[in-house]
Symmetry: C2
Subunit: 107 residues, 2 copies
DNA sequence: GATTCCTTTCGACGTTCGTCGTACATCGAA
DNA sequence: TTCGATGTACGACGAACGTCGAAAGGAATC
């Protein structure tokens, strides 16, 4: 049996994604910056996002995004790699992510 | 000089609409129901929305929507008529309202 | 082993949220 | 003028939020 490492990361099923939770997750500048970065870069480690908050605050924002089903995180040694669950979001809430990102930057 | 009636309702300018405030305003079932109703019916009085919360709670939700610039309210005697600021929203954040409403009802 | 790096957990803080009941103000109608 | 209908203002409540610092964990490296 494998050693008990960190507690396994919880990701909701695509079918369980909740629109209100997703909208709430997107309604924050720091988190929307994370989403935008992932929309362009596919996968990144936690510490490499262009945001300026304390590390523990960043962890909090990642949890909000993860529990809303917006991002997926996987462990890899020391690092935690993050991806956008774009296909799941697109299938449940078509166009929401892109429309919101487009709205943030302006026309 | 005119009598001091109710305090005048405050509506932000279209140029001042804030995406995070709008998303937050939409991230609630009661408020999204209000928006959907207005998207279909143009103008309604406060008490005629298909929601089930206390009147004072409804007033709170209207204030959140109004201060985010999502709705417009005008006084008319006893009543307060509410409309969706669809054109303003569309010009500042194109597609956001319709995409979100569509996402709520599902494919 | 010791050290360093990346990230989390915990506790704390002030703020905001969604909800409600009560009281109040206004208007139109009886 | 009195009454009912409409909607607000206020205060309260528990819960959640966004933020941070301190401490700790695990993994990689020395």
């Amino acid at each position: 049996m494998a050693h008990a490492r960190r507690p396994a990361l919880v990701h909701p099923e695509a079918a369980d994604l909740n629109l209100y939770a997703v909208l709430h997750a997107l309604a924050d500048p720091t988190r929307l910056t994370i989403v935008r970065t992932l929309r362009e870069d596919l996968e990144r480690a936690c510490g490499t996002f262009p945001v300026s908050v304390a590390p523990s605050t960043l962890t909090h924002h990642f949890r909000v995004l993860r529990e809303a089903g917006v991002i997926h995180q996987r462990e890899d040694g020391n690092r935690r790699w993050t991806t956008l669950r774009y296909d799941d979001l697109q299938s449940r809430f078509p166009g929401v992510v892109d429309t919101v990102l487009q709205a943030e930057t302006g026309p």
